[in-house]
Symmetry: C2
């Protein structure tokens, strides 16, 4: 089957690029002498996750309990559920642990320790937990100088059914950097904060075997992870225009794209109308805050070659409007109705989430296989 025979819109994955992205990332991680835990919220697929693991038997981070169940059912045992735990999810947590999963939760409050301990006792299990640390004011977690860190560790040690495994942090602010220097600086802050918290815990007698850091930008540019035990990243498998804008990858490294058909033109305005709207591209406009705004995505030929001055500048539910910065209106004649194009996405996680399968090519337009993608909760 060839891409030309597919119905549009659909999600295309270039395996040649995925392999290269993973190989380069693994090479770098190996040089840091730490474990690697891919965050699978980007790919949500077992074939890609198996490729992203650096060694057989190593673990993953997930963003939903449904991911945890899917990947456990596909043979992955070591799973960290990477969103602060809520009471309504504890029954599914207990089910997975009872089935043999090495499932670890994260938390940053006294209340969470209380209800996790209560559930562990109710279901007669032990639940391993990591304390979430805030290294950059981005989102969740305890500040490194907050006495709450030790209070929570003490509470965990007194409570039945909860076992402290260590700490976890995420330099989410690296997404707002405008230079590699900034990313490197935040990578240093992420590492230093994590190590400082682990040392605080050890000074109080807690073992803290796990010191986990990570984000695709910081993991890519960090050159020293002394004191850290594992690093996490997810987007690196696919990359996207946002990561290219950050300087984390090149446009030609982006491994996913949305295949669309031209369905019309507005000649006076120089528009090409396609069937690739926000339903297939996602509403993500991440690059709007970057130096180069790529609209809803950068347009490529069906072979995947970027048509550099063409972007999806506006999108409705099932309509994309492609505009060109070139004033040459004859560009429309190059793309008659029925022409297929590929759109590189702003954000790999958001765009992939709109699709339930990957049409896999391997450096050409031949579809070599179709891989399932799980979504939902």
């Amino acid at each position: 089957m060839n891409l030309r025979e597919l119905e549009t819109p659909c999600l295309v994955l270039d395996l040649a690029k995925v392999k290269k992205n993973i190989e380069h990332f693994h090479q770098h991680i190996r040089s840091l002498a730490v474990d690697f835990r891919p965050h699978v919220k980007t790919v949500k697929n077992i074939e890609l996750t198996t490729m992203a693991l650096m060694r057989k038997g190593s673990g993953i981070m997930v963003s939903t309990m449904k991911e945890a169940e899917y990947f456990f059912n596909h043979g992955i045992r070591d799973i960290v559920y990477g969103v602060g735990i809520a009471p309504v999810k504890l029954r599914r947590v207990a089910d997975l642990i009872n089935r043999g999963a090495g499932l670890t939760l994260i938390l940053d409050s006294v209340e969470q320790v209380e209800f996790v301990s209560a559930a562990a006792q109710q279901f007669s299990i032990t639940i391993p937990v990591l304390i979430e640390i805030d290294c950059d004011g981005h989102r969740s977690g305890i500040s490194s100088n907050d006495p709450l860190l030790i209070d929570i560790a003490n509470l965990i040690s007194r409570k039945k059914g909860v076992e402290l495994r260590g700490i976890v942090t995420h330099a989410g602010e690296s997404y707002n950097c405008r230079s590699i220097g900034c990313i490197k600086r935040l990578a240093g802050v992420e590492r230093d904060t994590a190590v400082r918290c682990a040392e605080s815990l050890r000074r109080e007698g807690f073992a803290c075997p796990v010191v986990s850091v990570g984000s695709t930008p910081t993991a890519k540019f960090v050159d020293d992870l002394e004191g850290v035990t594992e690093v996490r990243a997810g987007v690196f498998v696919f990359y996207d225009l946002f990561m290219a804008g950050l300087g984390v990858c090149r446009i030609e490294d982006i491994a996913i794209s949305v295949l669309v058909s031209v369905i019309g033109h507005q000649k006076v305005r120089g528009w090409i109308i396609t069937d690739g709207g926000w339903m297939s591209l996602s509403r993500d406009r991440g690059t709007s805050s970057q130096r180069v705004d790529r609209g809803y995505g950068l347009v490529c030929s069906i072979e995947g070659k970027p048509l550099d001055d063409m972007i999806v500048y506006s999108a409705n539910q099932e309509h994309g409007i492609i505009g060109s910065s070139s004033s040459d209106k004859s560009i429309l004649e190059m793309f008659p109705v029925g022409t297929m194009l590929r759109i590189l996405p702003n954000h790999a996680c958001a765009t992939s989430a709109m699709h339930d399968r990957y049409y896999v090519v391997d450096g050409s337009t031949e579809v070599v296989c179709v891989w399932h993608r799980m979504n939902g909760w």
Copy 2:
């Protein structure tokens, strides 16, 4: 089952509000003495579509061929596929017509007439089509003064297997209005343009039995549709914060919300962290261009009461950050970890698209049923 027993995040539908929204809308449409064709891209569900039809046997507009197939399989025969046709979709079009669907396509180019006719002959069917008219420069369609309109009609009459049913237009620019006056003016332009095009066709001897207009804002405020045969709308079933910002509905009319759990706090910043990120809310930030920016959504109690100064001001994949304009930090204590909240969405179509089911309540927090929602292409 009560909302309190559901796992978060999930999509909640308030049937009491849906019934009222549909009843009020039907009342208005009846006063206009035209047919009503709901656009089902918002609901993507048969129970809701059955309620939205004004009379048994009337038709719908769909945004994907998968919707066309789903609704035909559920007994709806009269279907307009509302996105300009691309060659790759003609096999599924032919299959549906061969199975007895009254499926109509829309087009706005000579090329489309050519390939639709070729497919009709290949599959031994007749394909009814509407010519798409551009009434406001929003997206696709032929300008009313473009001689292409008559050229296409002439071509259709010469070609085998294609049957001209009339014209269709959509006042998409009404979404950019900042006053009811503006919406009424665009509704007038939408009607006048449609009627003018139908008259041009009739002057040339084409019957043009269908004159179809519509968008939720213009359909809601138009008071005269003389010359129009049918009006379309979709979002009115649910409404959303964007429509409320436009003045098309009230906040209390919004029938869908995302149920989320509080998973943490950042006390110093006054943040409440929830498990409702953009994966459940969508990336849609429609209200950012309106007078009142509602972030990623307006926060309500589990009973659905808006907490007026609280919005989801930032979202990651599975994390929502709720902020309050109030400087009173004690607000955090009102929402301890585990508290459930409901988030009203910017855009009903985009938020619903992130979910595969509706948890239906009927004016209370009791879940009366669960309805499937179809997605994909």
